[in-house]
Symmetry: C2
Subunit: 451 residues, 2 copies
Amino acid sequence: MAKKILLNAFEMITPGHQTFGVWRHSDDRSLDYMTADYWVDLARTLERGFFDGIFLADALGVYDVFAGGPETALRAGTQFPSGDPFVLVPMMAAATKNLCFGITGNLSYENPVPFARRMSTLDHLTGGRVAWNVVTGYLDSAAKGAGKGGQRSHDTRYDVAEEYMDVMYGLWEGWDDDALVANREAGILVDPDKVRAVHHDGDQLKVDAIHLCNPSPQRVPVLYQAGASTRGRAFGAKHGECIFLNAMRLEDLIPMVADIRSQVEASGRSRDDVKIFTTMTVVTGSTDAEAEAKLAEYEELVILEGQLASLSGLLGIDMASLDMDAPIKHGNVEGVQGVMDSIAGPGEDRWTLRDLARRMGVGGPTPRIVGSPRKVADELERWVTEGDIDGFNLVRAHSDSMRDFVDLVVPEMQNRGIFKHEYQPGTYRNKMFAQGPHLRDPHPASAYRSR
Amino acid sequence: MAKKILLNAFEMITPGHQTFGVWRHSDDRSLDYMTADYWVDLARTLERGFFDGIFLADALGVYDVFAGGPETALRAGTQFPSGDPFVLVPMMAAATKNLCFGITGNLSYENPVPFARRMSTLDHLTGGRVAWNVVTGYLDSAAKGAGKGGQRSHDTRYDVAEEYMDVMYGLWEGWDDDALVANREAGILVDPDKVRAVHHDGDQLKVDAIHLCNPSPQRVPVLYQAGASTRGRAFGAKHGECIFLNAMRLEDLIPMVADIRSQVEASGRSRDDVKIFTTMTVVTGSTDAEAEAKLAEYEELVILEGQLASLSGLLGIDMASLDMDAPIKHGNVEGVQGVMDSIAGPGEDRWTLRDLARRMGVGGPTPRIVGSPRKVADELERWVTEGDIDGFNLVRAHSDSMRDFVDLVVPEMQNRGIFKHEYQPGTYRNKMFAQGPHLRDPHPASAYRSR
């Protein structure tokens, strides 16, 4: 039996997540991003197409590196404005039964005790359909919003993250399964002997608390991690159940996947104990020509500066001062050259910044498949097989992208036996790993469970 | 035309909000508190009964002062376990059209930028049906959960609160109405000249940010405030649109209301620019006898220690060491005596701690009306008229309390012309004040609007 491909819609509660300017398209609905209908429609479409989940990115600041201010990002709609995923997910969950929800939660700005409770509440109310995408943030503007001069160093952020995870595991696993006894005769609701407090006194974090919420179906939400750095990969290999990667070319992805699977194995888990997703932008139509025509329409509308504002924010390099039409290879801007190598390919040396922005225009710095369902399915299959990955986080090019995929590509994948015809029962974790609702040995969270 | 009484259900996402132990009753459903159905049913019942809102209390710690630990609160279910209101409200909102939602948000534990966005998102998605109950917290256990040795002093908390409000107004009012231009031709989504950043560099708080979310229907959610101290009342008179009080006896309420209305007037607003709610526990049935029989059933089930755990936490005084059966007047425990005066009345001097706990058993330290719809309506009318208040936050005694009230008391009030037969249109603020969706001069928030 062929391996079944996993699929998430990669979204953000904003008009432009990775593509900036297609909100100008006459059929695009992404300006409705702050209405329940828009998201409920999307959730129902995804469930109709047996998508595993909707994966919600988030950012708590603005992209204000480009030209030294946020103006470009505001004009183009570079992940701006945005809404809070915790408010939207309950509405999407109420309208669906099986679709799962990955929520980006930035541990730099969330107090552990209320955050743990918020996640538990959502896991309860969705019947265990929640994942947490653990991030530490990358925007200085978010740190300044929170009263800090700027972000802490990359390594310090991971030090905090390690302690934070310990605290969260302690909270989420701190209740025995039978702690909520609800003994009406004896008048005992919760047995205090079956609830363990967290007493964490670390270098980065101090927490002294009992988890306020009784255990939710999954206790620990499914854990996503997307760190690409050495430290990030080690963190993901230790904690992550799903790893989310991005590579423009399959040949770049292959060694990343191999490295992660080896690290997972080295940490005592099995190579397949993590599901690996990679980003993919798909533009499809009944025929290759129709798909290409769509892409051309979208490319007409993209706002190149919006894309450069995003890239400048991600890299912390102001690209506004660079010549848009000079070949980048001769510009000697180290960070930009690296990105160009990853996007255009290391052999390429004539690309200008304009070429780079154009290539990223639809879908951002992600690989792209444009074509008929057959061509799309061929390519997805090739990435899964050769890349040794489990699935994709599909980027929207237009607000209809996911509907197009569901209507056209899903049936093609089902016919090939590489995509499911029905959902697995139970929680998100069980749907994905078929091992019940909880994290198990040797995942570090399991050490916090009562024996 | 008689004044129409305003009504909120005073709830918390927990099995026992003010009454601890009635979860043991065979008909009580409050152990379903962590299911969507329970809350959606309640929301629909309240909307059927034209309730203005559901007012959700919250606490981010456990009641661990009594007997020096949280055990009693866990056993009795003293506001424990609990869930996050931001996850539940979207589900209740999706199931209703007019019911509004007051959410307690503790500014000591919320980063202003993401909190402002969360509120705006909720206000967007509910069509402007949200209020924020501004609190600074009172539990040391919550402060310890957040890595602090204990709470900051009462006055410092209000210093923080003043700065916090300035920041929130700056964020929520920082966008001009027409800042989201969405000009498809020019490719301008947001006009940066119409968005003002907050640069707040105060003693208590530093924030440098743009509000991430475009203006929601109300911009600033309706503001509730409940501080009873001198500082709290001044804060409420300045910022609050709805003031939430608690007094066991009408004669104690009257001067509190007069003081607040005078302070509101002194701050430049009109005496009626605030709506004043007081707590009330109502147990009703077709006849007085039926209502009294219900109360007796509930009183059988209450767990007195759970009530003392709550009171100990509120006062910061461990009552476990006190003799349950000695008259309190002779105990010389200052804080407890004050509470007893307020509950039993100043003339009372034979009450024991057990008497006090029993009186608080059903409904907590709140006034109570037990009787037929006629008796209840008589009393509510008397409190409104003599107390110069606008409405009530009704405390649940049993999970059916609100349904009983809607089925029995609401028709009686409607027949008397003291309760509405239909909702006013528009946002929460407009439903209550009929002055449009936004805060207006001379409320301090209006100073942050563009002129």
